[in-house]
């Protein structure tokens, strides 16, 4: 069985800057990390490898050269190989173009039975790439997967965490699963894993290598355009009171809630 895991390198959550003019994120000189939500995808793939024989897990990422670090991290967690798709032609890709490029790489590397993604990346936060990759590959996608119940050669049975409860569905393979945090507890790479990842070569894939149509990647392949970027004022300058006497503090809160139509 061959499994692909799509992982993205994202800016570390609390230090993100945008270039107001171009509307793109300033990535240089900033700390990056493996998208925290993708660790659950990596972990799930590696658990399948540990449970069954002859499972090969490949991590794939599209991003700048430094994203090799995230692939190394995925390898240190137990992935067998990592591939980095890096090419200036990919720059500026929106979710459709990103998913197109990823699906081309998946086809090139070939014959995957299962593809895992995270629920969403913590920078773009769209969660669109997984379903788009699957659709562009012509395979089914199951989103919000919180448990894998059964895997056979032909299908997989999974639980989805959706509004109000858990839905169980079966789907034919090959399929793409986007997983939620509930699914597992990602491991911390051990020493052996770290050593393995150090010596592992992470091949680079260019647009040419994966045989994409250049008009379908990067900015030219992206139907969406960022018009404007701004920083919202998060602080609200609300009224903050200290409790002197409980009754009157609570009364004041209740009055506020009435005024806002909550009660």
């Amino acid at each position: 069985m061959r499994i692909a895991v799509l992982v993205k390198e994202v800016p570390a959550t609390d230090k993100v800057k945008m270039d107001e003019k171009t509307g793109t994120m300033i990535r240089s000189g900033m700390e990056s990390e493996l998208n925290p939500l993708d660790m659950y995808a990596v972990e799930e793939a590696v658990r399948i490898k540990e449970k069954f024989e002859n499972v090969h897990v490949v991590a794939i990422s599209m991003g700048p050269p430094q994203a090799v670090n995230s692939l190394k991290e995925a390898i240190s967690m137990g992935c067998d190989d990592g591939y980095l798709m890096s090419d200036k032609n990919f720059a500026g890709s929106d979710t459709l173009a990103t998913a197109y490029a990823l699906s081309a790489a998946i086809q090139k590397l070939g014959n995957f039975d299962l593809i895992f993604t995270g629920e969403r990346a913590t920078d773009g936060e769209t969660g669109q790439v997984g379903p788009s990759v699957a659709t562009q590959l012509g395979i089914p996608v199951v989103t919000y997967v919180s448990k894998i119940e059964k895997i056979s050669d032909e299908f997989v049975r999974v639980c989805r965490s959706i509004e109000g409860g858990k839905e169980t569905v079966e789907v034919e393979l090959p399929a793409l699963l986007s997983v939620v945090k509930e699914i597992n507890e990602p491991r911390i790479p051990n020493l052996a894993g770290k050593i393995a990842s150090k010596s592992k070569k992470v091949p680079l894939l260019t647009a040419n290598d994966i045989e994409v149509i250049l008009d379908k990647v990067g900015l030219s392949g992206s139907p969406t355009r960022v018009v404007k970027v701004f920083y919202p004022k998060l602080s609200r300058d609300g009224k903050i009171i200290k409790v002197r006497d409980l009754e009157s503090a609570v009364n004041e809160l209740v009055e506020f809630m009435k005024q806002k139509g909550v009660i």
Partner: protein, 337 residues
């Protein structure tokens, strides 16, 4: 692509357990403004099996046209079947804008549909507007944990697609006199071939009302000190017809299941009222709730970051405040009866 062939605003309705769900009506409120500005029809698209309830309600809440596909094979969400039908509908009727709710359904079906149509899709918008002259949808959404807002457009492709935050907008005032046109569509059996098999649905017993579906969310954090104290939040939520949320710290302590977690690695919400009790207000938590309409915080630390985003805050001990608040609300409700 002949952009001008595309006209009209569509909203993707949702059917759950045979019933049209509330997000379908909210979407019409989003769509109405756009349709009025563009001077086009506003439509609702409904896929389901043996759809109960009044399709007319959709007219009362703003729809001019309702497209209905009612087939026993649509009882459950089979993504390949649903996306195939939407694709056929879009190709036949050519709407210029399609909006769906950023529910698990909308967030699954919309990227599939956008990929099939080769068009742009903007996720989880908190504001939509249109450039009337160019007939371009201006989609504003938060990213990177609410730290940045971006306005995005799809200039050259049609339809223009967006998902919007559930509950960020109220349904329009009901107009019982408003009427509209129902277009009933049937598709041949090959449309219903699926690679999925639906097995079961198990309701989450710990939640009366899922946080993504509530106008009111009362969340607790580590400051509640003990899982038992969440009982007070449930009492409070019940009085306000709301749901209970939590910080990651509370979830990690095992006080409440992950499905209640609000924030960067949990749910992102825009309810009309959000109360944070014993939550410090870490950036990752604020990422999930800063776009709530009204925010109240209770925390004993006057310097807690959560107070920065609060419209009203009480510096004090939540374990003392909650019982008094609950009692007070019970009295209020009795008075009103």
């Amino acid at each position: 692509m002949l952009k001008n062939e595309y006209r009209g605003v569509w909203t993707i309705g949702e059917v759950r357990n045979g019933e049209i769900s509330s997000v379908s009506y909210e979407l019409l409120a989003w769509g109405k403004k756009l349709a009025e500005k563009l001077k086009v029809e506003l439509s609702s698209v409904i896929l389901g099996s043996d759809i109960q309830g009044e399709l007319n309600e959709l007219f009362h809440f703003g729809a001019d046209v309702v497209y209905v596909v009612d087939d026993e094979n649509l009882e459950h969400f089979l993504p390949d079947v649903h996306s195939r039908i939407y694709e056929a509908l879009v190709k036949e009727y050519k709407p210029e804008i399609i909006i769906a709710s950023a529910t698990t359904y909308g967030r699954t079906i919309m990227p599939m549909l956008a990929a099939k149509l080769g068009t742009g899709l903007t996720a989880d918008c908190t504001k939509l507007d249109v450039d009337v002259k160019e007939r371009i949808l201006l989609q504003t959404r938060p990213a990177i944990g609410g730290n940045v807002m971006a306005t995005i457009k799809t200039p050259n492709h049609r339809p223009q697609m967006a998902t919007v935050r559930p509950h960020a907008q109220k349904a329009l005032v009901k107009d019982e006199k408003k009427d509209g046109k129902i277009i009933l569509k049937n598709y041949p059996s090959e449309f219903y071939k699926s690679k999925y098999r639906w097995v079961s649905f198990e309701r989450d017993k710990s939640v009366d009302s899922p946080i993504q579906e509530s106008d009111v969310v009362i969340s607790g954090g580590k400051g509640l000190k003990d899982g038992k104290n969440f009982k007070m939040l449930y009492d409070l939520a019940k009085k306000l017809n709301g749901a209970v949320g939590a910080s990651r710290a509370a979830v990690d302590m095992g006080w409440i299941p992950y499905s209640h977690q609000v924030g960067l690695s949990g749910k992102t919400l825009s309810p009309r009222f959000y109360m944070a009790v014993g939550i410090s207000g870490a950036v990752q938590h604020i990422a999930g709730m800063s776009s709530s309409e009204v925010i109240v915080a209770i925390n004993k630390d006057p310097d807690a970051a959560i107070f920065k985003v609060a419209d009203f805050g009480i510096v004090g001990d939540a374990l003392e405040i909650l019982p008094v608040l609950i009692k007070k609300l019970s009295d209020e409700v009795n008075e009103n009866d």
